[in-house]
Symmetry: D3
Subunit: 274 residues, 6 copies
């Protein structure tokens, strides 16, 4: 069960409201790299967690923290919108500079939300829950989480560069820090479970008879006029420790030329196809 | 530039067409765990790759292979739909057993595609390109790719269990194998670049002054009535080797109680809010 | 800031797992009438609340409760999926009755989530955050909330009828009850602020000069071969107490016939349009 | 059956074409607060109306009016786009001021529609029909309609403030007026059916035995460090007149700690979860 | 301006209600081949029509007819749902046959709409207005319209085969007929404007200097191991009468190998990319 | 099976990077008129092609070419983004002119992709695969393809006008040329199969008894106050050569007034509806 306390997890200060930066910040709320996504992803993973219950607790604890991140980011968006003129009659709106800024803000911050945060990204596209990755496989889920935190920290770092407001920089340095912790804690689960080598290939529970292992360890070079790019993936032991990497240069197709023959009568095709 | 040769990458055989399994297979084409996603994800990552060009080649080579996976899966869907009755007058349609099967097929395989594959998932929801994760950060992208292949292999393993058609099992064992290779090759890139410890936290190029590092290594226990779940993430060296993990039990909010005050005149609020 | 405690807000018991009912329950999680929607709607309204801060608290308190509803519903979905066969080899899967049930379950519960809840509706369509209605106008928002709870209670009542599992009926009777409270509490806010008459028309802050009030109180009968349906809306005092309702039968258009003239050169039109 | 007459419902005049305002106006066409939504919502409610047929007629009559609103708004968008330069060679395009305006217009008005209205919102996001709320419950639907008109009028009022074009202000004052009527007419249906008290809780047809009424009238205070915000919802008679409101401070969870145990073999989980 | 008259454009009769067929019929309402799409497509094309005003009238007249098609299809869906049991207690619901049918119906017809039509397709996916194709180019739009009617008639023909209800077959034979007329009327516009040869390539107003015409008339054979499929497109006069078709076998890329070099500092990339 | 060679199909040169033009170019990648759409549409049509296999080859060959178009357009987007400042500290960002440009760029090019192409349109809306039209009817599909290429060429022509960069104009003149070929090649298939008259109405395989042919050749004039717009569609032989066009002026509805009666008990409606 969830509870709420009155203060924000972290202090939010905006020295100079900037409606255009409010638009950018939306990416951290409603973007695929944002906080709604991780909050919901960890929440749904927790609800579907099977195995040791402590992972369920871990997921739920961090889902709860991410909800608090949405909360202070939402406040930051609203504070950045404080200065925006709401009518063309206002003096500010007559200033061409302000006009230029307004040209760059999200018009729905004015028209739809009344100067407040929305669950949308920096293009105004609403967040869509298909981005909640939760497979029931703990290793796949941990990778998805580390990935989400990695891209989230990339975003936070770019937002940090996109403002020179001291308050905003302070808040973003906190977000960058928490994303540091979170991406590590998910990889820590993988280490605790035995490490990447033992976890891979995900899922590590596939019976050997279900896999055509003769195809499991070669890099397929589909490049016609180049040799395969050489690297860790072309030779040496595979990451799961079970085989050696190799390369299949200029691969030949192994299947048939597909053909479906004529269309059935009454299938809605043209007569000429039947 | 892309080219095409006539035969499928791998042979597709369907011993007993099964329209319901055709619906399930769609998840491997148009689902978030499916082949359109990885093909497009690697393609867009390749187009945005900066740094050593060999990673661009690696991404493009595998993007190209994934296009070939879409191709043979699409053929498998069509072959599974071969037997489906297209009119209620057909004998097959009068058979209650067949009817039950039809009740479980995707009706748009009949109504919209004329017994062929569609770029949708097992619920008939079209694939949406927001799932193409490409950040311009090679470590974030490699994690996204390993994650995609991990969840793809989980899916392929489940599809393998959901059919007893020998031809389909054979094709899926090939997919399982290629997903094994692909998830490893992306992690191999990370190893080649110095390994996870050196890569993390992603991005590893954030200047230290941009991060409130006092918040970077503690697990925040937002659980009111439990201690933090203990594990690799609560003590010991952090995964990036820079600090020690710790726990913040029963965290106090560090921010203010947010308040936005009264609404501006002409902002579309009620009089009572102004 | 958010916190979490270990137990569910309400006990969840499933006497007979039913994967088909799990699919139906998803509507209460990820449907437009569901709990993700209200949780997020109240949360975003709270973050944008201007005026008396107690309404912000009210919204946040209930947003927090709705998160707990997602949690127990998610558990209910997982429990209903416990019995589902995961391979066609299992005995259960060979039973034609079970097969019929499986034909009616959401295949992604098997393929994607590993027998757990997802943030999707009963058709498997992911929830999309455009359904978070938050305008910054407290009366519009309260109406949106009462509406959401009304349609949520309609859904809960229908789900109650769709199962005869005692545990599920018990849980749903709790949901029905909370939806009773919630729809009333939002209307109570309107009453506290002065009542519907004083609140309407929303927003009640539009200067009179901005409204063509000669068009504000007639019902426009666009029906060619019928008189206007008579009722409370065709005569008597208007709901805002400012005028009398009337009817405009067989309305004549008041505008011009629209015409855009020829297309501009270089605008991408055909020559014949220029 | 529908019919059309040549003139617009209301005259549209644009004194000074403004491509940026064309972008804003799109919210009134293809936004969730816009006219496509209400037209389609009333249309689908009408088609599903059960009970007294006059409500079907009422809904269809107003659906028809809303189609006419789309029509004149669409014309207004096109007229606002008349001045936009279509090539960078045009003089206008060289003017930095014009350039600034262009930076703020929707580029798809130029690229995709050829200077005409589109069924998208002010961010260019296409309208999606999931926003057509139609439950088959007349009270829920009337609330949804009053809500839609309330948020529509908030939008129209904000658009009025965002332009100083006399023609546009005149058209918007008409829209504001019609939204006044429409929100009232839907509440008038509720009054005619017996009033809010009799209608609530929606649906008012739930048998008492289906509701855990001991949970129907308390406000749940999930706020850890504050008392419940006091108001009309914490004491006094409930809005449905059936009970007294109360408060549950510091609520204890009533359910179990959820646990799903180990994962099934062959379910796609990791070995460590089984 | 729009108007409405009470009777349906065409009589709707359902002899044997069939909830599963109601699901299929939804494709004709909310599918991409359905009536909402054409109604809205012609409406938006009409609003953006430039050139001879009679094409605007033609489009608006048919948009209006398509609205009437939605109306009678919506009624057909509701009539097919009449028999569906709404509680598991009803006798019908205990019949395994009925159960099988229910397994195949759209559960949201029960849960969300209360046994009425919805603006969704046969998978329950809501219609999304991005499918309204309206370019401002009359030839492109007429092609889009003929295409929409062609795929609409394919759908109607398949639906005709999917039912043996006499009433439904009668209604669908009317839809098939109107789709016949509509696809022809849009091609008739092209003929009237001079015919396909004169209209093509669309847009026919591109200045010759804007086109690299040396690339305008060859078929590019990207097939590695096959000659180009021969046909009308490989030799003989082009369809626009301006040149001869030819084939480019085994095409060589004409561009450079793309490379973006190193990543910029502060761009969020890894150090190793800079 | 697919293959890749290193060089781009066509050379890409950007003389003056322009982040705002990068945003516009996205429409040609991820817009409904763009290259992802045609690549995927031809690919899925190929996979579902029934009848003469050469059409499958034709479709696959061109699908493959379109993938190469995505590739060079993606490179063009990245090159246009080269100059964009990534931090507000950079000199460029302090220049008000640059600022104005930045206000018009897609912020996610900075925040999400790290200065690279994305699978989104000019509004930042991700491409969604529902736009892949593939019906299994070759004539419907060829019309869809010609339409897609027609609207694609309209777009390319508009993009040509929207830049004065010589390199970009050169690349776009190539795209315009290929769109010329492609729209013609699809119409050539129709001609080869017998021409439009023989192909229409699509599908040409509907048994006559399935069509109410008395409704197949009249134009329905739903305009109340105007005669039908006269043209090729109101008289003369129909396009399929089977009948004469006529007009139905002032059409009377032929159906009943729809009414659904009272709501069923337990259906979630209000008591007053039952």
């Amino acid at each position: 069960m969830f509870h709420h306390s009155a203060n924000l997890q972290y202090a939010v200060r905006v020295d100079t409201p900037d409606p255009q930066f409010a638009k950018l910040l939306q990416q951290a709320i409603g973007g695929v790299e944002g906080e709604i996504r991780v909050a919901m992803q960890y929440f749904f993973q927790a609800m579907g967690a099977r195995g040791d219950d402590k992972y369920r607790d871990l997921l739920m604890a961090t889902a709860t923290e991410e909800l608090s991140h949405i909360e202070f980011l939402g406040h930051a968006v609203a504070l950045n919108l404080e200065g925006a003129p709401v009518t063309v009659q206002e003096d500010a709106a007559k200033d061409p500079l302000v006009n230029a800024i307004l040209g760059g803000m999200n018009p729905r911050h004015l028209l739809s939300s009344g100067l407040a945060a929305m669950p949308v990204n920096a293009n105004g596209v609403p967040f869509d829950m298909s981005h909640v990755y939760a497979t029931g496989n703990i290793a796949a889920d941990m990778m998805a989480n580390a990935m989400a935190e990695g891209s989230g920290r990339v975003l936070a770092a770019r937002l940090y560069n996109a403002t020179d407001d001291k308050g905003m920089k302070d808040m973003l340095s906190f977000l960058i820090a928490r994303d540091t912790m979170h991406q590590q804690q998910w990889m820590a689960v993988i280490e605790e479970l035995g490490g990447l080598e033992a976890m891979m290939p995900i899922p590590n529970s596939v019976p050997e008879s279900h896999e055509a292992t003769e195809h499991s360890y070669y890099f397929l070079n589909t490049l016609l006029d180049q040799d395969a790019p050489e690297g860790r993936w072309t030779s040496g032991p595979s990451m799961d420790g079970k085989a050696e990497f190799s390369v299949k240069q200029k691969p030949e197709p192994e299947g048939q030329k597909p053909s479906l023959g004529r269309a059935k009568p009454n299938s809605g095709a043209q007569k000429e196809q039947m």
